[in-house]
Symmetry: D2
Subunit: 352 residues, 4 copies
């Protein structure tokens, strides 16, 4: 929909509009309202350059598009029936638990190996372990490739698929070669399109899955889905979206909890949504509540930092990781809430 | 804590600081750090004018206060053991359900009277009905005092305490005289200190309760609690805090869901917290999820718009009100989640 | 524009849509796009209740309106040629300077009287002086009616029109009776529709002017203009809009500077815009920069806190007030920038 | 400063605190206030892991640090006297103009070559030209290496240093080899620490300069400066900070203008600040105002999209680029405002 600044365009302006939209195979339908004439665009209106050119015209107030700019990730795309799997485990059909440490301490491998066993026992489905870490300060610990061996050792011992964060092309190859099942893209890299394309390229033709975290800034929902579109466009749509809190607005939480975006994402895309409550609230004592809220808003699972001895963890673990005992309680309660949430959704669908 | 701009103050600057803080009975404790000397304020540091004067000094970078600026509403105040009651019903000891219409339609009283019966049957504890409404546009429906009679008729029929929104001193007197049990202050008036004082004055010595909604802007938590302090300072601390969503940031919800603030409020104040999920998400189909999230974050209850025939409602009801059947499902599920939430809290307290 | 959830509506859904819009005298124009059919509303689409009813329908994704919801304040209203005047001074034809104290200290009247003379000498057009103050804490100084006499004394001495903030009906009558020329509505009361109507009613038929500050929350621009519409709807459109910073997002400023909204306001409404840089940045040393930025973005003037001895001021003055000497520099520079800004606007208009 | 949850710690808790801080060579100074005992940390308190461990303790409410977490970029670092230069031109001693196209169109090289001449004639100091572009959608134009030749041809013809955006290691090498003088890191990559380190590594020992844009999310100021610290830590501190608007909050601008952050940045770091008004407001007609506001807030320069025929540009140019004639007016006015701004700063310093 093209909305002019003045109530009516001159015929010359109208011709110019038609010429520009014509270049993009868009037909204009004129709508003469009581107060103002506007123009509907019939055809594929999602061209970024078309919108830029129209909005650049002096006499145009704004252009509102109705179609979403993403194609592959959209709910009505041909991929809508795609099932995301992590080493055989289906995502989106139950409530999936990813748990483990923010950062594996290469000097104390037992912490992670014991945590891995505890995660399995508590009912976790996938094991996370941070090998490399994007720290705000260049003077902080940035990770160590030795941790990758510890992660793979934990996979061998528990039989759980494993997930780790990757920050550049080299991490992707190393992790792929080692047999990592799931790559995590952190919030700071969620708009690093070079990395997204690189991951998409390297996982094409494989069963590896990507968990894409939401960027910290509270932009449009479509910006998040478009980032996933970058990966999917390389050929492998094994993608999970992960809200993890946005720019903090309240003294008390590390970030601003955004589990509520889950419903809105699931209306627009077929991709499963797994929420990270730990980075959202940023403190272990709040994590159970944020996890329960994620299930309330329809998440397909949660990713939880867990540590057998949090205070001796490194990275974010001393602050955010819950004990295996708390993890077990969270799993029990979120699974129950997940069922309640499905009940409401079915009830609404039935009465629509 | 007073933090100077430069690593060290001159002795003349230090004397000026001491003179100013002395006027407010504050003693300064000097902390000579490796990189910078800072000054701790010992005494009651909460004077707004003291802070303004210190921050007005050229050589001071900032002043960080440790004490909260509210007194009566604080968790450690003498009111901490106060129990909020609405016509006998204790708030904060179970999970309270307030339900009813955003706006009572004076032309169709039966809608509200039937809704009232349905709320009672579904398990509601308190009945809400909007008599006057603060609309964004002066050209929209603003309410009608006839609706007050319908509200009181519903109270008589159901025996439920009733709640209505008040916007000025006259509403307060009319509602008090009619026998309204609970006054609601809307988000737009949450910083209207004149109204808050007027309510506090009129309810002093009575059992009337006030439900104070959070202002739409995402200010500091203390700003919300200080608004409640205005009411309490008049003598009646029968106050409930109500998060209801803040300035919207995502295309899809009416406001930005803020139920997560509940935990932070309950850490700082003794007041019960009842969440309004309807204004937060702004669309009936999302309300059950937001209600469940509120219970997850430890709310003491929810306030839900309900209508026997939403599409023929007025005000926000056509968009936001759920049917009595959905209300009953919400009540069942939120009460279950409330128990889970208490379980986590007890478990954490036990292991602290 | 009505956008359904699915690509096509059933004929039954279409009929229901037509029936609802018909009640509001809206005709539907169907637009059959390649991917989706949407419906344009022809007629006055600004009914809040119509939008609520349409958005309440299960099969409707959203409703986008093209018309602005305000009428009187709109650029194309019959009031567009109205000239706002403060006691004879035209606002909007030059660059207006309002200056004076945030809070008049009733114990030290000379501070204000001397400030008033200094404001006049520096080139100020209107004198501000706070009599009553909306403080965040009920335990802080709230103002004193004695200050009103001091304000009127300053008016008598300098001949400048005077401005003061009002918070309730009683303030309005007292200030009107005393001969105050301009009422200021603070950010916390900008959505207090009861007060806005009361002011509108009391100034109707008089020459008094209202300076309406923007609410602290960063809502839609139309929400700000609609608040002004409440005053105008009572009959006196002598209204000035005043951006003053929104919810703070950066450690360093008191609020988030929002002078940039000036251009957007002036595109939509005929009302003059005067910016308050002091509350925006919140510290005297930053005020000159924020004042210059306001002029850059096309403001019709600024309102500046000034004090002959800031550190002995009360209220916000110790922190935010500039000296008369700095005020004079600000006036000189902002007036020069105002001319540059007009030059750019003329140049753009000429080349459009 | 360590603030416990309760007014007093037990001696066991106090010992645990001392043990943890001791590991990081921090000495604790106890401050026994009237209401609460707090603990000042004397020593280098900036360890991320120390803070995480302290905040992970059950009995600690929060940890406030006084020292900034960055070292090299800080105003009091040994680099404070470093002068940033772009191919000989000093940045920070006058008002620098970077101008040119968002995206060089490889099919129409003359547009850029003519724009380059026009930029030089208008008074530009540095020429920008986009070779590769990070587009929100993977289906949009992403750039073409042929454009690099056109950029270098323009450098040869005009003698102006040239700037282009880089998104990965390969771009950095190609641009370095070609002789590009300044690398631009876009908002989406501002927290892509891998890229920042890669750039730092490749420019080490060379005279190449980096213009680091601010990430779109409105996080803490220190997060922006820490991103620059990543580059500086590799050895070459030839860095300029560039605010370019944050997440949009108002219907009307592409982003939320953030030129006001300039003053706050310059208080904390020695790095020059150059503002991008085009991406901030996002529409050519608003650009002059935003440019003037940037100068008002103390920017050391601006970066402006310019095109000899904007409507036939590609990328953002049809919407955001100004004509060379408007550029010349902007340069004239911003340089005048820059002088006024310096005048205020000198006046304040003189009266401090």
């Amino acid at each position: 929909m093209i909305i002019p600044k003045e109530p009516r365009l001159t015929s010359q302006e109208e011709s110019e509009l038609e010429e520009i939209t014509g270049e993009f195979d868009i037909h204009l339908q004129k709508i003469e309202g009581e107060h103002q004439t506007v123009y509907a665009m019939v055809g594929d209106e999602r061209h970024e350059l078309l919108i830029n050119r129209l909005e650049g015209l002096e006499y145009i107030a704004r252009v509102d598009t109705i179609q979403q700019p993403y194609k592959l990730m959209a709910k009505d795309s041909e991929l809508a029936n795609h099932t995301v799997r992590v080493n055989g485990t289906e995502i989106g059909t139950g409530f999936t638990i990813i748990a483990g440490q923010c950062t594996i301490d290469p000097k104390n491998p037992n912490f992670f190996l014991e945590t891995a066993e505890a995660v399995k026992e508590a009912g976790g489905d996938i094991l996370r372990g941070g090998v490399w870490k994007p720290r705000t300060s260049p003077h902080s610990y940035q990770g160590d490739v030795k941790a990758l061996d510890i992660l793979m050792e934990a996979k061998a011992r528990t039989g759980l698929p494993v997930d780790t964060e990757v920050m550049d092309a080299e991490h992707v190859s190393l992790a792929l070669d080692a047999g990592v099942d799931m790559f995590q893209v952190g919030a700071r890299n969620a708009l690093n399109y070079g990395l997204l394309k690189e991951i998409g390229r390297q996982i094409n033709g494989r069963s590896t899955c990507v968990l894409l975290k939401r960027s910290m800034h509270m932009g449009k929902i479509e910006e998040f889905i478009l980032a996933a579109e970058y990966i999917a466009a390389q050929g492998n749509p094994n993608i999970i979206l992960c809200p993890r809190g946005t720019t903090p607005t309240m003294d008390g939480y590390r970030n601003h909890p955004d589990e509520s975006i889950t419903v809105l994402l699931k209306e627009r895309t077929w991709a499963p949504v797994i929420v990270d409550p730990c980075h959202s609230v940023g403190k272990a004592i709040y994590v159970p509540f944020a996890a329960m809220a994620a299930a309330s808003y329809g998440a397909d699972g949660i990713i939880i930092e867990t540590h057998v001895d949090p205070i001796h963890g490194i990275g974010d673990d001393p602050k955010q990781a819950v004990s295996p005992e708390v993890l077990a309680r969270i799993i029990r309660d979120t699974k129950a809430i997940h069922e309640m949430q499905l009940g409401h959704t079915r009830h609404l669908a039935h009465n629509a």
